[in-house]
């Protein structure tokens, strides 16, 4: 598949602060790639460099096979959706969406046609004459998306676009953005610090930490096969267990869903004796917190049962999992 976007050893410092270590990344056409990481991990810097709003100190950016490192933002053909949407307050919704087309000197009739179609795509056909401040947060979000995709940019960058919305609206918009992604066949680079959002939406996740890429892979790779302690901890919950004696310089990790509370005679590849401390009903799942005899805190998540578990807090239990669910993590050098 064609490569839409290529970063080659791109780096950026603000004075003594290393905001982005030399980073290399390829994004194929049509992919939904999420940059996921805590604040200060370099994901916003990376986005700014891609949009051309910040110049990188070294390295090169290739967009659509063109060397674009020093291309000004208006020539990049990259769409950027801001966290606060940055809709122009003095222009109507239709004028906002028409803006990028006017910049490209399209004929008026074509502009009107495309704006009307775009408003339909984002399911807001009647708000063209309104000012942005007269719309709800979710509607503003859709207008921002419409404005950004109406000129069919080669890649759409989204900077925590759902951060300002409440939980329910956020879930709706996640679905909506997925739908628009498929419908328009756009390549999307999405920035978030919310791991659930990243899991829900992405084809691939680029996990960032400390100004560099910690791990790049599909959501399930990142979740089930993390390659570092950071990756294991940042995405989902991680149970760390003392490694077997022959691999003393590594760590072992098991996801809570893979740990079972063993019945009387049940067997498993790995078994640990523990005391159950608490059970929390979360709806579909229940979370069991236990402490092993060697003092480690272990969390197991299993399907809830209506009658509740037969085990009470303070009771001795046996926890077990299959060998293939144990993930060996390399000890992190220099940290």
């Amino acid at each position: 598949m064609k490569t839409k976007l290529r970063l080659d050893q791109v780096a950026k410092s603000y004075g003594p602060v290393r905001a982005l270590r030399p980073t290399t990344l390829d994004v194929p056409e049509g992919e939904f790639l999420t940059l996921l990481g805590p604040s200060g991990s370099g994901k916003s810097t990376l986005l700014q460099i891609l949009a051309g709003l910040t110049a990188c100190d070294q390295g090169d950016v290739w967009i659509d096979g063109r060397l674009s490192t020093d291309t000004p933002p208006h020539d990049r053909g990259v769409g950027l959706i801001f966290q606060n949407y940055a809709l122009f307050p003095h222009l109507t919704v239709a004028q906002n969406i028409a803006f990028p087309l006017e910049m490209r000197r399209l004929p008026r009739a074509e502009i009107d046609r495309r704006v009307t179609r775009m408003l339909e795509v984002v399911q807001l056909p009647h708000v063209g004459d309104r000012l942005p401040r007269e719309l709800s947060g979710g509607q503003q979000q859709r207008v921002a998306f419409a404005r950004c995709s109406v000129y069919e940019p080669s890649i759409i960058l989204m900077d925590e676009p759902l951060g300002a919305l409440d939980k329910r609206l956020r879930d709706d918009m996640q679905t909506e953005i997925r739908r628009l992604h498929k419908e328009l066949g756009a390549t999307i680079l999405y920035v978030t610090h919310d791991q659930e959002e990243a899991m829900a939406m992405s084809d691939r996740i680029c996990l960032m930490n400390d100004g560099g890429i910690a791990q790049l892979g599909t959501p399930s790779e990142i979740y089930f096969r993390p390659r570092s302690v950071f990756a294991a901890e940042f995405v989902g919950h991680a149970n760390f267990i003392a490694p077997a004696s022959d691999r003393a310089n590594s760590k072992c990790m098991v996801r809570p869903e893979n740990i079972r509370i063993l019945e009387e005679a049940e067997r498993a590849d790995t078994v640990i004796d523990a005391i159950l401390e608490d059970t929390i009903m979360l709806g579909a799942f229940s979370r069991h917190v236990a402490r092993s005899v060697t003092g480690e805190r272990l969390v197991a998540v299993n399907w809830s049962e209506e009658k509740g578990t037969t085990h009470r807090p303070g009771e001795a239990i046996r926890l077990g999992w299959d060998a293939c669910d144990t993930v060996h993590l390399a000890a992190e050098a220099g940290r």
């Binding site: 208006h74 606060n84 940055a86 809709l87």
Partner: protein, 600 residues
């Protein structure tokens, strides 16, 4: 490879760094040539006699004669009193405006700003009408039988104070307001839930947080008052003159330039001393409203008061007002107060009196301008257009009006051309030496205008610009520039830069984004800056006095001369016309703005 890796970024960064400074260059160069150098030259002059031989004679004369020492003391005490009255009178107004709902805030603010938009000379004339022995106050009290002889309200300390406080209080209010609006309202609520009564919450929480604003406006008023000469000259006693007046006397009557320069040095030294002391204790950034509420916790200023003395003082005032409130509540008729209802009638009374004091005086000139009585006496008698006829049949007045408007417009344009790019850089970019550059831009606002005007005259005399329109425009721009820079910076602080970035990523070049997005959104603020520059230039007397010659009449100069020698209602007619000109230009701008907003 490593060489490339380290060198490449630095060159890129260097190029960007230099480009950032570019928009600052015109404004800085302008001020260096027509402001810094002339003032420095003037001060230099004080160390020479009239044949060019170095001497300290002027300073010896200054020290030897106790009269001059008295003038210096006089000036300082006059400034101190002006400051005190502006703060004490302005604080309740600023507090009222800061704590009412945003919907009510703007109408009040407009009335507070009325004096700022009105010519200073016009305001002084209004006070003559109000305070004079035949004036509004005396005639009213006489007719009510409350007094038997007219009170001496003018040509003494009282008159000067009224004129000066009226001139400077709006600035004091605005500077206090900018700090007060940044104070989190929930802090006072928090204090209440922690057990503080309303007045205690005010004195222990709100008041200390507002102190940076009080300090900043105090500095501004004090330093401005040091250079005042209009109010002391026209409303004060001739036997009790200020430093700036003494400088004018030395220049115009004694023609002793070197001694005038020595006096200027004294005035400047006093100004700089005050500014430095202020900067050491509180920091100059509060002048541009950048002070954060937390700045008061900085080591220095009020934090330096020994052993929490300041806190104890404030606490004592707090308890005092709590008990006063309880006492008043006992003796006043009992009215049940609902929860959340605030008793603010006293604040409203104080605030409205203050706003009336600021806004109303100039309107007394309108009836006087059509009165048949030729001595500005109150109440107006009959009705006549003759004073307007005097104006319209006078070639000098008409010439002065046309020239003032022309110079004012050109000044406004030049100030915008120089000031807007500079304000953009200062508000948005991280540049080295920002505070120095900003101080340079704002310096003309606080320096006595007379010093700058005299220095400029000296420079102009050498290059033949005295009495030329270009000379006047340059001179006025020195003083209009700070207003443009401050206004545009304030507007930019509320502007979300991401809108520009959005425009760029959507395909707009920097130029197009500026024209289509930045400018339309900032339009109202830009126009305000332009108007400010225009009004200031129309009103600038020091430049008109020293840079214009006899052949170039200007409105402020003409008003000043006539007010100094003969006062008749034709001055009221001219003042009314000036009010109409300024009022009309504000109205036109407002209409254009609202029209543009509807269309957009």
């Amino acid at each position: 490879m490593t060489v490339i890796a380290t060198e490449f970024p630095t060159t890129r960064a260097d190029r960007r760094m230099l480009a950032r400074y570019l928009p600052l260059v015109p404004a800085v160069a302008f001020l260096a040539i027509v402001f810094v150098i002339p003032v420095a030259q003037l001060l230099f002059l004080s160390f020479f006699d009239n044949t060019g031989v170095p001497t300290a004679a002027h300073y010896e004369r200054l020290v030897a004669n106790p009269t001059y020492f008295r003038v210096v003391l006089n000036t300082l005490s006059y400034s101190a009193w002006t400051t005190l009255f502006c703060i004490v009178g302005g604080y309740p107004i600023a507090y009222l405006v800061a704590t009412i709902s945003a919907r009510h805030r703007n109408p009040l603010l407009i009335w507070i700003l009325v004096p700022l938009w009105t010519s200073f000379l016009v305001r002084v004339l209004a006070w003559m009408v109000i305070l004079g022995s035949h004036g509004v106050i005396n005639r009213t009290l006489l007719s009510l039988g409350l007094i038997e002889r007219p009170l001496d309200l003018i040509y003494n300390f009282f008159g000067v104070m009224v004129g000066s406080v009226h001139a400077l209080m709006p600035i004091a209010i605005l500077m206090m307001l900018s700090v007060m609006l940044n104070i989190d309202r929930s802090l006072s609520s928090a204090a209440s839930t922690l057990g503080a009564r309303k007045s205690m919450a005010f004195w222990r929480v709100y008041f200390p947080l507002s102190l940076p604003g009080v300090a900043a406006s105090g500095l501004m008023v004090f330093v401005s008052a040091l250079g005042f000469f209009i109010a002391p000259q026209l409303l004060g006693s001739p036997s009790n003159i200020m430093l700036a007046q003494l400088i004018i006397v030395q220049l115009e009557e004694a023609l002793n330039w070197e001694f005038a320069a020595a006096l200027s040095v004294v005035l400047l030294a006093a100004t700089i001393l005050v500014v430095v002391v202020f900067d050491r204790t509180l920091g100059l950034s509060s002048l541009t409203g950048e002070v954060r509420a937390g700045a008061s916790t900085r080591k220095g200023g009020f934090g330096r008061l020994p052993g929490g003395l300041g806190r104890q003082l404030v606490s004592a005032i707090g308890w005092g007002s709590v008990y006063a409130g309880i006492f008043l509540g006992k003796i006043l008729p009992y009215r049940r107060q609902r929860l959340g209802e605030e008793r603010r009638s006293l604040l409203w009374i104080l605030g409205l009196i203050g706003i009336a004091f600021l806004a109303l005086p100039t309107f007394f000139l309108i009836p006087i301008s059509v009165s048949e009585n030729r001595f500005l006496a109150w109440p107006p008698e009959g009705f006549t257009w003759q004073w307007y006829q005097v104006y319209f049949s006078s070639a000098v007045w008409l010439d002065a009006t046309v020239r003032s408007i022309g110079v004012g417009l050109a000044t406004a344009a030049l100030s915008m051309i120089l000031g807007v790019p500079a304000a953009f850089v200062l508000a948005r970019q991280r540049v080295i030496g920002k505070s120095v550059i900003l101080s340079l831009m704002l310096l003309p606002m606080v320096l006595p205008h007379i010093i700058v005007a005299v220095g400029l005259f000296y420079l102009y005399a050498k290059v033949g610009l005295v009495g030329t329109n270009i000379g006047l425009i340059i001179g006025n721009t020195i003083f209009s520039l700070p207003y443009v820079v401050i206004t545009v910076m304030a507007v930019l602080r509320n502007y979300d830069e991401r809108l520009d970035q959005a425009a760029w990523t959507l395909g707009a070049t920097r130029g197009v984004a500026f024209r289509r997005i930045t400018l339309p959104i900032l339009k109202a603020g830009m126009v305000t800056a332009l108007l400010f520059a225009f009004v200031k230039a129309m009103d600038e007397l020091a430049i008109a006095l020293f840079v214009a010659d006899a052949g170039t009449p200007l409105l402020p100069k003409q008003l000043w001369q006539e007010m100094s020698y003969k006062i008749d209602p034709s001055l009221a007619a001219v003042s009314t016309l000036i009010l109409v000109i300024v009022g009309l230009s504000i109205a036109v701008v407002q209409i254009l703005n609202s029209f543009g907003a509807k269309r957009g």
